[in-house]
């Protein structure tokens, strides 16, 4: 199996809990013989780095340096993510199985690559704008929510880390419950369940 993971944080860049989670995910995938590519952001450690554990990491910087907030910052970063993800896609002779996108930041890239290459994606939800900015419905919050909605709509499967989050997705975004898979991070069956979800999205034979 061959997977591209999109995450806006990945060690050494740690913003919240997501960085370590994605790192552990990539490590475990490699152990299960999944060819794992991580596309992430870093201001200056850009380019390709093959990590000792076998993860292929690509870091991109923002081509637009000046921004008025995190929203516009994210929106001009996506094209660089697309560029690198497309490069991986072509380098592997288009033999890519799926994308796993973590949170809302790189949803645009995941959706565009899906439309372009019929490449399915999984949307892994760490947190939602509804909870990060509780009860805030400014145009800024609504824009992020609309991106989350787009990701939930276009994703083949949504992976969440708790039943509570599953119910929140159902409540806030009316996501059909059978599209959501609850996989608790620290559980023994964690990586097995992730692979199961990936396989269910890919459907038939994998590319590697």
């Amino acid at each position: 199996m061959r997977v591209i993971i999109l995450s806006w944080e990945f060690p050494p860049r740690i913003v919240g809990q997501l960085a370590d989670y994605v790192k552990e995910l990539a490590v475990q995938l490699v152990k299960r013989n999944v060819e794992t590519y991580v596309v992430t952001y870093h201001d200056f450690l850009t380019g390709q780095h093959d990590e000792p554990v076998g993860i292929k990491t690509y870091r991109v910087a923002n081509p637009v340096r000046t921004h008025i907030g995190v929203l516009t910052w994210v929106l001009t970063l996506n094209q660089e993510v697309e560029r690198v993800a497309a490069n991986i896609y072509y380098k592997t002779n288009k033999q890519m199985d799926l994308i796993d996108v973590h949170d809302w930041h790189f949803i645009q890239a995941a959706v565009t690559l899906k439309k372009a290459f019929d490449l399915p994606f999984v949307y892994s939800v760490e947190s939602l704008e509804e909870h990060r900015s509780h009860n805030a419905d400014t145009p800024f919050n609504m824009a992020i929510k609309s991106i989350e909605w787009l990701g939930l709509y276009e994703a083949k499967k949504v992976i969440v880390k708790s039943k509570w989050m599953r119910d929140e997705l159902k409540r806030i975004y009316k996501v059909p419950i059978d599209k959501i898979k609850v996989i608790a991070p620290k559980s023994k069956t964690w990586i097995g369940s992730i692979l199961e979800s990936y396989n269910s999205v890919i459907g038939g034979a994998t590319h590697n």
């Binding site: 001009t76 560029r83 439309k115 372009a116 019929d118 609504m142 824009a143």
Partner: protein, 400 residues
């Protein structure tokens, strides 16, 4: 490989959605390209009543769902709209089996979508720069403006070639973004002179705007600082000292209210008419009726309204700046005035209005020039030649 050259053009405005000059530009360019054997797909923003998909004179138009929620600000709206534009264009490319040779984007408003598509599909990417933030704002003062400026720089960086509509814009883009000179191409803007050639009796029409003994001096454009509309208004009393005229101001903008208050306060409300936006036919008829067309811009990348005046056989008085300085030859195809100088502008307007022979010579010279140089057929052939040159380079360049 397809035999036919195919281009996918991205633009945030296309008729019936008309905000500025990009919409008519892309409309005429795409139609003329189609006549010259180029297959054109237009991907643009939706508009109430306009179909999602239509074909006009062999140009295929796809209107995307632009971002409809309230937006924090204009630039953020642009980036959000680009999510959908890129998504829809990617789906379209997929359905066309990627049988598109070139992506062509117009201004930073579609930069994100175009740049993403370039890398995802590995096709050559061109940009036309119609205007710049540093020019519009007369400098970069806030982070908001710098963000747009850097997005424009990013667009010129990613583009294989950058098309500008005047030599002035070529040097401006060179200065503003440090674009290598060999990436820049000058192809002028155009005007469709036939749209002004219909013969109709405009006496009745004219009476709605001016008394028979009043000359008409016309301004067409957004009422914003960079267009120098305040310079025109300040020139009005000086012109009225010597000529009886009506001053008609077409367009909207944030300076409309302060300027119309100013006109009232100096007691000239009966001599100046603010029409707001008018429909195409009214606009063309006004341009045909105008005894002089005044274009007092402080910043003007091209100045398409000068071409329209020339096509309408209305003598143009322009400020000697930007693209206007290239279109107009003084005393030949128009009159040039010093920029930001009401005395100079008033002098030019008065000269045209008082000297009938002079005005007639300018009318004829100007009309000949638009037909020879600024016709869309010629412009689309030049554009096609750029496409072909880029494709030739592309065919020899590995994409890694």
């Amino acid at each position: 490989m397809t035999q036919e050259l195919t281009v996918m053009m991205l633009t945030w405005e296309f008729p019936p959605r008309i905000i500025g000059g990009i919409s008519p530009h892309v409309y005429h360019l795409s139609k003329s390209l189609a006549k010259n054997g180029v297959k054109v797909y237009i991907v643009t923003c939706d508009f109430p009543g306009a179909p999602q998909h239509e074909v006009i004179d062999d140009v295929e138009i796809f209107r995307i769902d632009s971002y409809k929620n309230p937006s924090p600000d204009f630039a953020t709206w642009v980036y959000l709209m680009n999510i959908n534009m890129q998504k829809e264009a990617a789906a379209l490319m997929n359905s066309l089996n990627e049988k598109v040779d070139i992506f062509h984007a117009h201004d930073w408003l579609v930069a994100n979508a175009g740049i993403g598509l370039k890398h995802v599909f590995r096709k050559p990417f061109l940009a036309t720069i119609h205007s710049t933030e540093v020019g519009r704002r007369d400098g970069i003062h806030y982070d908001y403006e710098r963000m747009i400026h850097e997005t424009e720089a990013w667009l010129t960086y990613e583009a294989w070639k950058v098309i500008c509509c005047s030599n002035y814009m070529v040097s401006h883009v060179l200065w503003a973004f440090g674009v290598p000179e060999d990436k820049l191409v000058m192809i002028p803007n155009g005007v469709n002179a036939q749209e002004y050639s219909k013969n109709s009796d405009l006496n009745q029409f004219r009476r709605k705007f001016a008394l028979p003994n009043e000359k008409i001096a016309l301004y067409v454009g957004r009422l914003v600082y960079e267009k120098g509309i305040h310079v025109f208004v300040n020139a009005i009393p000086k012109v009225l000292e010597r000529v009886n005229a009506k001053f008609i101001i077409v367009g909207n903008g944030y300076m409309k209210e302060p300027l119309s208050n100013l006109v009232k306060n100096i007691g000239l409300a009966h001599k100046v008419m603010f029409t707001g936006f008018v429909d195409d036919e009214t606009l063309r008829n006004l341009q045909k009726c105008a005894d002089v067309s005044v274009i007092p811009s402080l910043f003007e990348p091209f100045g398409i309204v000068a071409l329209e005046a020339m096509a309408a056989k209305s003598p143009a008085v322009v400020s000697d700046t930007g693209g206007l300085a290239e279109i107009i030859e003084h005393d030949m195809t128009g009159v040039k005035a010093y920029p930001d100088n009401p005395d100079s502008l008033a002098w030019g307007i008065t000269k045209v209005l008082l000297d009938g022979n002079y005005a007639e010579t300018i009318r004829n010279n100007a009309y000949r020039k638009v037909q020879e140089k600024y016709n869309w057929d010629k412009i689309s052939q030049q554009t096609k030649a750029v496409y072909e040159a880029v494709l030739k380079e592309y065919s020899k360049s590995p994409w890694t």
